[in-house]
Amino acid sequence: MDEQARAILQRVIRKIPNKKLQTALRAWDHLSSEQLESLDYAQPKWLFLENLISRCEENRLSLKDVTKLEMAYYIDNPSKGTWHAYQLFQAEGDAVSVNFTQFREQLKAHLKDVVRHVSVRTKKLEDGAVWIRIAWGDNFSKPNHLKPTYVVHYLQTSYVFVLNLMSKHKPFLYQALLLSTRHVSIKEAQLSSRSLTAMRDLLMRQYQQVFPTNQERTLKERNAPPSHPSIEKEHAECAERRHQMACEAFGDGVLPKLETAVYKLETKYRGNSNNTLNDKDELFRGVVMFSSSNLLESFRHCVSAGMAEGPVTPLLSSITQKGRNSFVITDKVPGAASQTPAHKA
């Protein structure tokens, strides 16, 4: 086993908790059951690693085999590192008929076309996710397996999720993806998170969406003075309305576990109405970052509890409606890349 293989093995083994080591190695299926039995999983990691390396060398395992283990680790732990989402546009006619084999062969071929030394490994999971591991080299050097890029794509959808992509490799990956999925353009989707599952659920709408009901909820009705004498009933009605608005904006039931959302504000100042700043044309610049262990649930709770006013501002509901968590807010009329802030009351 060469230096790189050893280094990768060391990194992966370090990351896997002791309790899960045995299952991970068994699933890897590159060591015999006797060899697996002979290892002491309670040892300190550095000692365990030495023994593991000698077993691997007995079997003459190579770099290729070790990268398989690394890939399995990332598949099992899709919440390591920061994933970024990309969206494919303008599908060609035959995009829908691309199957896994076609996709894989095309991707490998196109990558090898543009990057002389590149190592690609793919795996299709039961849920339809295609995982791709790319180790990049260049015209003169062999692929660097210590800094691989991981790509996840669900065939026939327009989303691609990427981990650890250097900007110099972006054009190569873009081109290869477009050609192999039969699309014309690809753009960053302004969505990034540590949790791949959350991003996937958000983009592919795999959460319970709540659609506006038929119940009349006009402005007039909401502002009408309460006619019913019982305060409890009114309060319940208000609470119900708030809850409804919250669910419409953010979904119902279990929500994708998004953790952050960032807004770059480039709008004019809208503070106290007496303030002279209100008349100025200059922007009141700032950046707002929301973070929580489950951002969408926090927002939903804020709205239903009254900490946030309903109906929910498009700035926040865009997270679920548009599937993104990074925004630039300007005062312009809504275009493709900007959002208007809520109107001044």
């Binding site: 807004y263 504000l265 709008t267 100042y269 809208r270 503070g271 106290n272 303030n275 002279t276 700043l277 100025k280 200059e282 922007l283 009141f284 610049r285 700032g286 950046v287 707002v288 970052m289 929301f290 973070s291 929580s292 262990s293 489950n294 951002l295 649930e297 926090s298 927002f299 709770h301 804020c302 509890a305 009254g306 900490m307 946030a308 006013e309 309903g310 929910v312 501002t313 700035l315 926040l316 807010i329 802030p341 809520a342 001044k344």
Partner: protein, 351 residues
């Protein structure tokens, strides 16, 4: 309920038994913050300032040794307030160093301290940081460092804990009213392992008959800092004004709003126009400033920031967290920050 201000005299010949904890009052009932009593100390803690002097940039290195200033700027400090120290002498610092070191070693051997290290022992240094005190009533700041002595004398001792006691622009009436044997250094800043902080506090409590308490910074204090620091932007680039709130949703939501420093200053300037004759800032102006930011935020996100808690304010000049943690970013405005914190400490000190 009337109460006589009584000076507690501790005769020199009496052994070091438990002294009464009062330092100027003899009270029938335990002192309470809500209990108003006539006398010198009414002014303390019951008058919350509604206006302050604007932050002034001081080149403090003209007054204080720059090396000592550098020590203050490096770390994040955890704040406590402490009652006046009985018979603390700035001339005895070397003696205190030896005693505290011995105390720490003894406590460690008894197994009181939780951490087991490979230190052969501890070395403590008390030093006076001259020049931080502003008025003649302020006592000089005292800086304490605990070094761990390594096993091999070839290695240099490593500083494992640092702390300092200070009083900057303390309420002069209160300070003058203290009995002669008492020194007030109400603000205590510590940085390092918790077990050492506890040991240092314990030693102080035993030796000087004082008591420590955690100092938290409420939103009023944080609001003052936000306004004061923003006001400094023309002379000293604050680089950003970052405010952090925590909303009590489930799960809790953290909101960090980083305002462009020039824009923040424009807002502050529109509320508190620079007037060279009167450099005082009112609490109303501070509130208008914070309200302005909250309303601008609301207009975009429709979230009531007032439903949450302001937890942290930071600029390049420093940061303050409502848990009672501060970081001093620049020595230029250290006096203003310490004045505020001293006041905060004095207000919280049990009367």
């Amino acid at each position: 309920m009337e109460c006589n201000a009584l000076v507690v005299n501790t005769p020199a010949h009496r052994p070091d038994t438990r002294r009464s904890k009062s330092y100027g009052r003899s009270c029938v009932e335990p002192p309470s913050l809500f209990w108003q009593t006539p006398g010198h100390l009414t002014t303390l803690g019951h008058r919350i300032p509604t206006s302050r002097r604007a932050a002034k940039s001081h080149n403090i290195t003209t007054k204080v040794d720059p090396e000592q200033v550098a020590l203050l700027i490096k770390n994040e400090w955890k704040l406590s307030h402490v009652t006046p120290l009985y018979r603390f002498r700035h001339t005895q610092l070397k003696l205190y160093s030896k005693h505290l070191a011995a105390f720490i070693i003894a406590e460690k051997q008894q197994g009181v301290a939780v951490e087991v290290g490979v230190e052969a022992g501890f070395k403590v240094t008390f030093s006076a940081v001259l020049g931080i005190a502003e008025t003649k009533e302020d006592a000089e700041t005292v800086f304490i460092q605990v070094h761990s002595k390594p096993l091999f004398s070839a290695d240099t001792p490593k500083a494992v804990w640092r702390g300092w006691l200070t009083c900057v622009n303390g309420d002069p009436e209160y300070l003058r009213s203290l009995p002669p044997d008492f020194v007030s250094l109400p603000l205590f800043c510590s940085s390092g392992p918790e077990y050492l902080t506890a040991l240092v506090k314990s030693w102080f409590e035993r030796t000087f008959d004082c008591s420590f308490g955690s100092l938290y910074l409420n939103s009023t204090m944080l609001n003052w800092l936000a306004a004061l620091w923003t006001g400094c932007h023309p002379t000293s680039n604050i680089r950003y004004l970052k405010l952090a709130w925590n909303m009590p949703s489930q799960p809790p939501l953290d909101i960090a709003y980083t305002v462009n420093p020039q824009d923040a200053w424009e807002l502050w300037n529109s509320i508190h126009t620079e007037d060279s004759t009167d450099d005082r800032i009112n609490i109303e102006e501070v509130q208008l400033f914070m309200n302005g930011l909250e309303i601008h935020f609301f207009r975009h996100f429709k979230i009531y920031l007032s439903a949450g808690t302001l937890t942290k304010v930071s600029t390049a000049l420093g940061s303050a967290h409502h848990d009672g943690k501060i970081k001093i970013g620049s020595s230029d405005y250290i006096t203003t920050l310490l004045t505020l914190l001293t006041e905060c400490a004095l207000m919280k000190t049990p009367v």
